[in-house]
């Protein structure tokens, strides 16, 4: 193995994981498309594709972890990883921006237009007479039937507190890591992971209540669409973040991180703070206002 002086370039050679990832991805997505179109067998190949993707992630990250543990990475590689994660989170911000933008657009512009505001006066007169454009709405067609919404200051508020405190515990874990206190590092990470999964549990509970008792479904007009897409994609990100935190916790237990060299921890912490901030936006604009 080569020696690795600071300042020398590090270039990894040949990897089979990307092509494995592509095969997993295409298997999963072709199956998903067939599944949506009613193919019965596609469900199984969908899970197969997902399994290949997960296998790829284990293999690829495993390689990176082993390279990192072997001391192959210098400050420049660290810098590339930091830039990579930052810009990845930026792309995620833009993804959520679409759905927030959708929410703002319908609430500020298109729903009032349906109700006859501004240039929508004639349309309303001709097509949607009597439509009361008040948020929450499922549109002039009352699509999806009557529904009621989830009050902000119930479970959503508790979920806000949960995510905010998980942001605190992950920071405490970081402090423990920097002061080489592995016991508290693992304990605070365990607390963060538990809070993360507890959030997902409460969210799932809310969904069940929405579907069974409130009449609020994905098909409840524009309200149901924006509500479930925003909270759903956020919930998926929390789940993913909690899984990532679990991996970091397991690696902490194995003693992988050093007080001055632990970018994997930081990357996941950045990601966790990102889903935290998105939730604050959701709590304000989806639940409170």
């Amino acid at each position: 193995m080569a020696q690795h002086a600071e300042g020398a370039y590090y270039v990894p050679h040949g990897s089979k994981w990307p092509i494995v990832g592509s095969l997993g991805m295409i298997t999963m997505l072709v199956s998903a498309a067939n599944w949506m179109n009613g193919s019965a067998s596609a469900e199984w190949t969908f899970w197969l594709g997902l399994a290949i993707l997960v296998f790829m992630l284990f293999g690829w990250f495993g390689t990176v972890i082993r390279e990192s543990q072997a001391g192959l990475y210098n400050a420049q590689v660290d810098g590339s990883y930091r830039l990579g994660m930052s810009w990845f989170i930026y792309s995620e911000v833009m993804f959520f921006a679409v759905f927030f933008g959708t929410l703002f657009y319908v609430r500020a512009l298109s729903v009032p237009w349906l109700g006859g505001e501004g240039a929508g006066a004639i349309t309303n007169e001709v097509l949607y007479q009597g439509y009361n454009a008040v948020w929450p709405t499922n549109g002039p067609g009352n699509v999806g039937g009557e529904f009621s919404t989830i009050p902000a200051f119930g479970v959503p508020f508790i979920n806000t507190l949960i995510l905010l405190s998980s942001g605190l515990t992950v920071t405490l874990a970081h402090h423990a890591l920097r002061s080489e206190n592995r016991k508290w590092l693992v304990l605070w990470l365990a607390a963060t992971v538990s809070l993360g999964f507890f959030f997902v549990y409460l969210q799932a509970h809310e969904y069940i209540e929405a579907y069974t008792e409130l009449g609020l479904t994905l098909g409840s007009g524009i309200y149901g669409a924006t509500f479930f897409m925003l909270t759903g994609f956020h919930g998926m990100h929390v789940t993913l973040g909690a899984i990532m935190l679990t991996v970091i916790m397991l690696r902490s237990m194995k003693g992988h991180f050093k007080p001055r060299n632990h970018f994997a921890f930081e990357a996941v912490a950045w990601y966790w703070h990102f889903v935290d901030v998105v939730w604050l936006g959701l709590f304000i604009f989806v639940y409170v206002l």
Binding site: A2, H4, G7, A8, Y9, Y10, V11, P12, H13, G14, S15, K16, P18, I19, S22, M25, I26, L29, V30, A32, M36, F58, G59, W60, G62, T63, I65, E67, Q76, G79, S80, Y81, L83, G84, W87, Y90, S91, M94, A97, V98, T102, V106, S110, W113, L114, T137, N138, G139, P140, G141, V143, G144, L218, G219, G221, I222, A225, M229, V247, L250
Partner: protein, 543 residues
């Protein structure tokens, strides 16, 4: 974790130091598992060339159908599938991957790095694409046919696509993932891998334009992903994003799409600006005029691209304030674009110019792209756009900026750097024949479409009124000839790679400056294994 997975990756990991041009053995090792920026660049460029021919064949179907009025060759629905797929293939398959291919080849060499910052991810960004395109093109063979809504995928029309819609949406998702990973890699390389002395304002213009392009890509590809995801849920899961009865709004899709779509236009043209800014100084034997103003103009164009999207939707029904805002914002773009054209012309002014093929394509670009820019300015006038909207005038406009614009710049780049990539000179005679035939026929093809549009011929319709017959026939003849001319291009490239006997020097062009020309032709497998010192006179713009 994952220690059970045996991998020999570790054994292959070396410092750049230890590799003296050791290409991996075996076809699969070389091309499927590669982490080398040049090999990945080559893969991108070949994929792009194939997509260029596939998308071009679709254009031939379109022009053949429009050769005469009346329905001649294909069913109207298939015609619409062709216009849709032609655009998707050309945008996502030909132009974008070609620029990523050039970025892969050139950015590490230009900034003095051994490779890209994240080489394994680089492989994945490429190897998603062949799968995504197979999925996209396979929809043409499905019972329901491919998407026939135009590449803009507007609802409610696109929601009438049958089973294939899900495949189209997932293909777009994959293309987006690939673009985002590719862009993250390019940004990390530019910001983190520059050799000592290669300060930001010493970087070649191609690197600058790609840095800004990559930023645009990361900003807008997730927006497209979100938009098509909403189409998917509206079609398959009963949401009402684009259904007015449920409180949604189909026009909202247009806003979201063009928030992606307008920056996307600049994603295709900004690297072209970079290439032209590399080539003109070389063959004018003068430094680029106004280097720093070029950088700021590029950044300004990128910023403005985010606030002009609704000029694609002037006739859809927007409040007057919106129409005016988007008109003025759009016209503002002509200021930084004008700065660029002025700088290019000033670069050539009193230069010792020679006219090798890359220079011919670059000059062709400056002239013909500017025509497309002017027709864009006409379209930006809201009141006038009510006449031009969805006519062949729009088709002529964007084909002028994309074909003798982006595609000419790609051809210029190919001729300019192919000797560097391969170590062989291309045939100057056939390159020049390619240029002149392309330039003549691209104008025969697209110039008459301006008149067709002004006279009111609508786009995306397989039949037309007999009054449009003459100009359509001229346009189609230009189209067939332009298409056939591109076979020369393929021939010149293949000849240069495999047959050419004339070896290229490392410098290749006497007037060229920049780090890539300090390497041999072809360059070593790992471009710079130790960081080069960047001295002042290696920098292209000595101003």
């Amino acid at each position: 974790m994952s220690t059970d997975i045996t991998s020999n990756d570790l054994d292959h990991a070396h410092d750049g130091h230890d590799d003296h041009d050791h290409k991996p053995k075996g076809f699969l090792n070389r091309w499927l598992f590669t982490t080398n920026h040049k090999d990945i660049g080559t893969l991108y460029l070949f994929l792009s060339l194939i997509a260029f021919l596939v998308g071009g064949s679709m254009a031939m179907v379109i022009r053949a159908e429009l050769f005469m009025p009346g329905l001649q060759l294909v069913e109207p629905d298939f015609f619409n599938q062709m216009t849709t797929m032609h655009a998707l293939v050309m945008v996502f398959g030909a132009v974008m991957p070609a620029w990523v291919g050039f970025a892969n080849w050139l950015v590490p060499m230009m900034v003095g790095a051994p490779d890209m910052a994240l080489p394994r991810m680089n492989n994945w960004s490429f190897w998603i694409l062949p799968f995504a395109f197979t999925m996209l093109l396979s929809t043409l063979f499905m019972d329901s046919g491919g998407p026939a809504s135009g590449w803009t995928l507007y609802p409610p029309l696109v929601l009438q696509t049958g089973n294939s819609l899900a495949f189209v949406v997932f293909a777009v998702h994959m293309l987006g993932i690939s673009s985002i990973m590719g862009s993250i890699n390019i940004i990390a390389t530019i910001l983190n891998m520059r050799a000592p002395g290669m300060t930001l304002l010493r970087m070649p213009m191609f690197v600058w334009t790609w840095l800004i392009t990559a930023f645009l890509l990361i900003a807008v590809m997730p927006v497209l992903a979100g938009a098509v995801t909403m189409l998917l849920t509206d079609h398959f899961f009963g949401t009402n994003f684009f259904n007015a009865a449920g409180g949604g709004d189909p026009v909202m899709f247009q806003h979201i799409f063009w928030f992606f779509g307008h920056p996307e236009v600049y994603i295709m043209i900004l690297p072209a600006f970079g290439v032209i800014s590399e080539i003109l100084p070389t063959f004018s034997r003068k430094p680029l005029f106004g280097y720093s103003s070029m950088v700021y103009a590029t950044a300004t164009i990128a910023f403005l691209s985010f606030i002009v999207w609704a000029h694609h939707m002037f006739t859809v029904g927007m409040p007057l304030q919106g129409e005016l805002f988007f008109m003025y914002a759009t016209m503002l773009i002509s200021v930084p674009t004008g700065v660029k054209v002025f700088n290019w012309v000033s670069t050539m002014w009193k230069g010792s110019m020679t006219f090798e093929t890359p220079m011919l394509f670059a000059i062709g670009f400056v002239v013909l792209f500017t025509i497309g820019g002017f027709s864009g300015l006409m379209l930006a006038i809201t009141a006038a756009d009510f006449q031009y909207h969805d006519t062949y005038f729009v088709v002529a406009h964007f084909h002028y900026v994309l074909v003798p614009g982006a595609v000419f710049a790609l051809m210029a780049a190919t001729y300019y750097w192919l000797p560097k990539f391969t170590g062989n000179m291309y045939s100057e005679k056939w390159g020049k024949i390619h240029f002149w035939l392309s330039t003549i026929f691209v104008n025969v093809l697209f110039f008459p479409q301006h008149y067709l549009g002004l006279a009111g011929m609508p786009r995306r319709i397989p039949d037309y009124s007999p009054q449009f017959a003459d100009f359509n026939m001229i346009s189609s003849i230009g189209g067939f000839a332009f298409g056939a001319t591109q076979l020369i291009f393929v021939g010149v490239i293949l000849h240069c790679i495999f047959r050419s006997k004339v070896k290229a020097t490392g410098q290749v062009w006497e007037g060229a400056r920049g780090l890539e020309w300090t390497l041999s032709s072809p360059p070593p497998y790992h471009s710079f294994t130790t960081p080069p010192e960047v001295s002042h006179n290696m920098v292209r713009h000595a101003d």
